[in-house]
Symmetry: C2
Subunit: 149 residues, 2 copies
């Protein structure tokens, strides 16, 4: 799969992740040690009824879903960034997130014609059908090599 | 520290993080298993001379620097998101990242007057003075409680 295969308008459903309490707390202890992310006992009495995932944890899961189901090792280059990262419904322990990607746009690189920029809307929908995360991922993707016939 | 203490225009330097090869590979094995993030032997011959950190790893480090040096447990609420996440210079093993925050704006919430929205430019500068990451963080922060005299 190469740049030329990312066709604007294409919608795909990627995998579904079960987000465990242990994984929420492990990530947040390392990177986002706020009470509502790491302290299950205290969070049980809070507005969410338990811990919720750090937004950066949910973004990392989004990245993983893209790497395993949307990007290809032969063409994916280090990514330039992301736009409009939005955390909608909180991600609670035991939630399942299903990842959906929509190709928003694809244009050849101006500085290097052997690659292109793909913009992708990635969304996480939980088991209740609520949107948990949305963002526009920006990826740098190699173009298909010439076959050289 | 409450919403009222985030004054637009204020620039602060937060902590400095040393990013180890082990931490780059550990994060990427879990969330971003692309060769240039996880395979030190292969990456040594690649364009970066070694593994580079997953962008989501760098974002998680940004979040950690904010939680430990910029946000306060008495006022920080789950964040709505981030804008314009940009990965500039790659983050290599052994790099040190110094975090700098600039308060871009602060406005009271329209739906809940007890809190406000703070927009912050967060930047990571490496040991060579190069910008590695920039993004605009969006945080929901409680206003200072009335003293009730």
């Amino acid at each position: 799969m190469y740049f030329d295969d990312y066709v604007p308008g294409t919608v795909s459903t990627l995998r579904t992740d079960l987000v465990s309490e242990a994984s929420i707390i492990e990530f947040a202890r390392q990177f986002d040690p706020q009470e509502f992310h790491v302290d299950a006992a205290s969070a049980a009495h809070g507005p969410y009824g338990g811990v919720i995932a750090s937004g950066w944890h949910t973004c990392a899961l989004a990245g993983h879903a893209m790497v395993t189901g949307y990007l290809a090792p032969e063409s994916s280059l280090p990514a330039p960034g992301a736009d409009e990262v939005r955390f909608h419904a909180p991600v609670r322990a035991g939630d399942t997130l299903t990842w959906r990607v929509t190709v928003l746009g694809a244009r050849p690189s101006r500085s290097n014609p052997s690659r292109g920029i793909v913009r992708t809307l990635i969304e996480a929908v939980n088991q209740h059908g609520s949107l948990a995360l949305s963002m526009t991922a920006i990826n740098l993707i190699r173009r298909r090599p010439a076959t050289g016939q």
